[in-house]
């Protein structure tokens, strides 16, 4: 099972998008580095370093999916929930950078969007979802495990959304936004199930032995953690239901537009070059929105999901800053 949003090669998105995402990533990682220093004090180097090695190894965990096929963890949300969003974002960034520089996995000019999609969005966005969901769940180990599952699943979907939005701005080929969005988000909604289940059960295992190490569960009373347990089966069934409902909704959106092959046939000779100098084409690569009959709808959806993901990531960033500031240094 491969994840398309991961380790994109050189030239996959246009140069402008690579530069802009690179700048965003640089700024966010700069902020995150300062915060992880505040959070971990002089422990920052060994602790972040060795847990980064853990995330690298965790990506080698092949878990069964169905009938002998396997998937593997991405670990962005897991890292954020275990270690806090800033440390989580840093260590996944380091994993991505080392994979590009030392293992030739992912393009060097693609580092900007690869870091944004694989480290920043999953860590901060995933953590924001985790905190929001935890408010709805009871303050127990079960609540934390459930929230982890949903957050880890959502982090994979958000990475797919982020990639689709970047495609809208910097597509290197004329594939319509809705085709990319439908395919990416649909596929990742399914891939995310494994991520959610494994992350949740892993956090459950840590809670059972060293609950003080789970950053996202520090408010819990360690005494009450002893019993509450969630059955794997309940979890798997619940997770699949949520994901299937979501995938159904997304695919409705994708199916609502003509499917790729039909669209090509439909669009033959219908390109109106007179429209090419509109403001929309100035902002967006003219590919992504080219030849779509309902351009407004497609841009509207892109705008809404883009805003939601951005708000979540911003919320995660904000919480990362606030929690580091208010925390009593002695307890770290």
């Amino acid at each position: 099972m491969t994840v398309i949003a991961m380790h994109a090669p050189d030239g996959f998105l246009e140069a402008g998008t690579a530069v802009v995402t690179g700048l965003i990533s640089l700024v966010v990682i700069g902020v995150a580095l300062r915060q992880s220093r505040e959070q971990l004090k002089d422990k920052a180097i060994p602790l972040a370093g060795i847990t980064a090695a853990f995330i690298f190894a965790a990506q080698m965990f092949n878990f069964p999916v169905a009938a002998g096929t396997t998937g593997h963890l991405l670990g962005g949300a897991l890292a954020a929930i275990l270690l806090g969003p800033s440390v989580g974002a840093i260590i996944v960034t380091i994993v991505v950078v080392v994979q590009a520089l030392a293992f030739a996995d992912g393009g060097l000019t693609a580092l900007g969007y690869n870091i944004l999609n694989m480290a920043i969005v999953p860590a901060y966005g995933g953590y924001a979802v985790f905190r929001l969901i935890r408010r709805m769940f009871p303050s127990t180990a079960g609540g934390v495990v459930g929230a982890t599952g949903i957050a880890a699943w959502a982090s994979v979907v958000m990475a797919a959304v982020a990639f689709s939005i970047q495609w809208l701005f910097g597509a290197s080929a004329p594939v319509a936004f809705d085709t990319v969005f439908g395919a990416m988000v649909g596929v990742h909604a399914l891939i995310g199930i494994g991520e959610g289940i494994i992350s949740a059960l892993a956090v459950g295992a840590v809670l059972a032995s060293r609950s003080d190490l789970v950053y996202g569960a520090q408010d819990l009373d360690t005494a009450q953690l002893a019993e509450s347990k969630v059955g794997t089966r309940t979890f798997v069934i619940g997770g699949m239901l949520v994901a299937l409902v979501f995938a159904a909704v997304v695919s409705q959106f994708a199916v609502g537009n003509p499917d790729g092959l039909e669209k090509v046939a439909e669009d033959r000779g219908f390109i109106d070059s007179a429209e090419e100098h509109s403001l929309g084409d100035f902002i967006f690569a003219d590919y992504a929105t080219d030849g779509i009959s309902n351009e407004a709808l497609s841009l509207g959806v892109a705008g809404i999901v883009g805003t939601v993901v951005t708000l979540l990531v911003a919320y995660g960033l904000f919480m990362g800053v606030r929690e580091t500031r208010t925390r009593d240094p002695a307890s770290v």
């Binding site: 050189d10 069964p64 393009g107 080929a173 004329p174 594939v175 494994g194 669209k263 669009d267 033959r268």
Partner: protein, 254 residues
Amino acid sequence: MGAGHSHALYVHEHSVVHRMAPQAKLVAALGMVVSIAITPREAVWAFGFYAAVIAGLTGVSRIRPGFLAVRLLAVAPFVLFALFIPFIATGETTEVLGITVSVDGLWGTWNILAKALLGASVSILLTATTEIPDIIRGLSILRVPALFISITTFMIRYLELIADELGRMRVAMTARGYDPRWISQARPIASSAGALFVRSYERGERVHAAMLARGFTGEMPMPSTEAIDRSQCAGVLMLVVLFAGTAIVALVAT
């Protein structure tokens, strides 16, 4: 990583490229991939030129072409996506072997294929001729923030240890007859992940305590940054100018 050439991509050889200073190679690789990425897709000759230079460098580095080809398989998922583009892309269409495909889409496929494969070749050449500790040293000479470098160094130092620990857990599970086929049987895997995290974290704490005992103050002593060898600058400069020049000519010409 003390045992030398332990990472999969490094090829132990004695070539000019292997001996180049890591920071010089990093600058050269970055200059080359940026040039490749900004070259307009219509400039087919430019990509041919890049490929020829990269092939030459591969020869000079004494890397077998077969090794490069196998490593290039890493971009396969994206190549697959690229191959689909002509069928799902919009715009003016043409007939190829009786199948209707988008002209713009074909260019898109070419664009992704050429840039992904050339870019990946440069990355593979870099990793095949430079050991990981040298890459990190190069980054630190290029003024990447010290905290980032220190954490990365620690990750690389402990990576194989943690990965081995993971391997032992897998062996232990297999020895007990663990052979899951469905995700609902994956709890042992997840528990191992949790256990591995706790072990990694506790190892971090122990290492920190040991560092404190040896006088650690929160900053890592940085390896002395040697002066850059001027003779290597020329070679690197030539490569970057060659690639950047080609990209600019291609940009102007199309």
